[in-house]
Amino acid sequence: MHRPFEILLVEDNPADVEITIEAFRRSRTGNHVSVCRDGEEALEFLFQRGRFARTNSAPRPDLVLMDLNLPRKSGAEVIEQMKANDGLRDIPVVVLTTSDRDEDIKRCYKIGANNYLIKPVQFDDCVKLIADIQQYWLELSKLPPR
């Protein structure tokens, strides 16, 4: 019914990466997930430079799932740079974090994050959330045509 979407997951915690990938696997959507382990790597991936300078090594994502607390460059910094760039501004960014602090939530929306979600503790809830994210952002929502 639709081509597989490109999703970029920016997450430093290996357990969380595995959990999220497993949740994607269980949601059986067939979408392709790339993983970046810190903010710097995410920026190189998005701007297709450094390690990702080679053509097709970093596909342009349809959706970015962004953790906030990252080594080197924080999730917020990555969002700011994406939203300052004409080519990347239209990619929806979903913040996926453990923080439910008011200041984090306010800041993320202010710098242009499209959605703010809190990571559930229960794995079952996590599976449901990942499925919901894909359904809402990739199936229900109309994304800008490529």
Binding site: N13, A15, D16, E18, I19, E22, T98, S99, D100, R101, D102, K119, V121, Q122, F123, D124, C126
Partner: protein, 480 residues
């Protein structure tokens, strides 16, 4: 009634009275001396006149020549103050008297014999009016009084002038003390030109310096305490968050193990995994409650008037499942509207009622919520006293304090974390209230807590209500 004196007025009044008194006394003394000396002078003058007249009229007396007598009288007696003139012969018979002569009564009389060759041939009588003597005296009195009035005015003026700096210093002292009392004198020091006031000022300054020092210490201590508490809340928040991270891993991977490898394990192995899963759940609840606790402490919502009856309706809806399960009757009295943090206050009622349901083995469990207006035993201010009463298992007296401490539980149960009452106590206290309980084992527990009675003014600011004797909130039981 106490009459209040102004120092300037009092000075002036005393000076006026004293000066006036002095003037009056001086005038009286002056008057007495004046009257006597004046009388003496007039008498002396009159005597001289009389003697001169006596010599002049001697031949006329001998000849009883009346026209010569009249002539002598009119030439010699020029003094207007002499009001009575009579010339008599040796036997005392009147020889001559001018036509306008007054009667000798009330006159000072001077009698001089008329002698001829050492024999008395007649008498010259002259009378001077006391009135004329007094007339001169009156002038003296008026002069004295005038001088007196001038003196009074001068002294009063002087006293007012002299007392002005005293009065001003005292007024300045008064204003300073007022500012001190109002707490507006921070850093201010009183100085005065007047030694006495300056002394008082110095003492007051010393007292103020010590008060300010003590206040400074208190403020610093309070600030430090607040900072420490904030830091504690911050820690609680960060730690519980950081604990969540590995917990998610344990939860997910124990689940993978449980889902994918259950068949490959023996009963013992499966039991181990189940224990891990249960521990994760418990850990999750603890962290969740800890986060709720620290969030309530950190993110204080604005205070606003909240109708507690409608709030209790929401609490009832939230607890509906538990109420139905245990067939608990929840009775809610008429409750007031109070100024509070609605989220936090909901938590208070929710926790208290939820405990009352949970720890209740009565065949007909009931929970009552009510409110009365009671005077605070310390301040005397009227405050709301709420109660949540159950007929449940009750609490031993030795645990009355312990139950408010973090993670303290009296029963082993799956759900409780022992944080609910800690939250309740914290919220009540930050709203300016107190919480305590009465309980009897097997009969039930009543939690009491107070909230200050505040009223919102039209401008939206919140003010404490003054002490009133009004009493509302009777036991009108009503199921909401």
């Amino acid at each position: 009634m106490i009459v209040k004196y102004n120092i300037k007025m009092q000075y002036a009044a005393w000076i006026a009275v004293a000066t006036l008194g002095t003037v009056v006394v001086m005038t009286l003394v002056h008057l007495m001396r004046d009257v006597s000396s004046r009388n003496a002078a007039v008498r002396y003058r009159t005597e001289l006149t009389a003697k001169a007249l006596a010599r002049a009229v001697e031949p006329a007396v001998l000849t009883t020549n009346k026209s010569a007598l009249a002539n002598a009288v009119s030439t010699i007696v020029q003094d207007e103050e002499i009001l009575y003139i009579a010339i008599r012969d040796a036997r005392g018979l009147l020889l001559y008297q001018p036509p306008q002569a007054q009667t000798p009564t009330e006159l000072i009389m001077v009698k001089v014999p008329v002698t001829s060759a050492y024999a008395q041939v007649g008498t010259v009588e002259l009378g001077i009016g006391q009135a004329s003597a007094l007339g001169g005296v009156m002038k003296t009195v008026l002069l004295d009084l005038g001088l007196g009035v001038l003196l009074v005015a001068a002294f009063v003026g002087g006293s007012v002038y002299v007392s002005k700096p005293v009065s001003e210093s005292l007024l300045e002292l008064g204003r300073y003390v007022k500012r001190v009392a109002a707490g507006e004198s921070k850093g201010e020091r009183l100085e005065s030109d007047l030694t006495e006031v300056d002394e008082v000022g110095k003492t007051l300054n010393a007292v103020m310096a010590r008060v300010e020092e003590a206040q400074g210490k208190l403020t610093r201590a309070q600030r430090e305490l607040k900072a420490a508490q904030k830091e504690m809340d911050e820690y609680t928040y960060v730690i519980s968050h950081d604990l969540k991270e590995p917990l998610r891993g344990i939860e997910a991977f124990s689940k993978f193990l449980s889902d994918g490898y259950r068949d490959k394990l023996d009963d013992n192995g499966r039991h181990h995994i189940d224990v891990i899963r249960q521990s994760v759940l418990r850990m999750q609840r603890l962290i969740g409650d800890l986060l709720k606790f620290s969030r309530l402490a950190q993110q204080k919502n604005p205070m606003s008037p909240v109708g507690l009856n409608s709030m209790l309706m929401h609490v009832r809806l939230n607890l509906q499942y538990a109420l139905d399960q245990k067939k608990v009757e929840l009775l809610v009295d008429k409750l007031p509207t109070v100024v509070c943090d609605a989220t936090a206050m909901t938590e208070v009622f929710h926790n208290l009622i939820s405990n009352a349901i949970k720890y209740n083995e009565n065949p007909h469990p009931t929970v009552e919520v009510g409110c009365a207006e009671v005077a605070n035993p310390d301040s005397g201010m009227i405050e709301y006293q709420f109660h949540v009463r159950d007929n449940g298992v009750g609490i031993k007296k030795e645990y009355f304090d312990k139950i408010f401490q973090l993670f303290q539980r009296l029963q082993r149960d799956e759900e409780g974390t022992g944080i609910g009452l800690t939250i309740v106590k914290r919220v009540v206290e930050w709203h300016g209230g107190r919480i305590w309980l009465h309980s009897e084992e097997g009969k039930g527990t009543t939690f009491f807590f107070t909230l200050p009675k505040r009223e919102t003014t039209k401008s939206g600011t919140i003010m404490e209500l003054p002490k009133t004797a009004s009493k509302t909130g009777g036991p009108v039981a009503q199921t909401v």
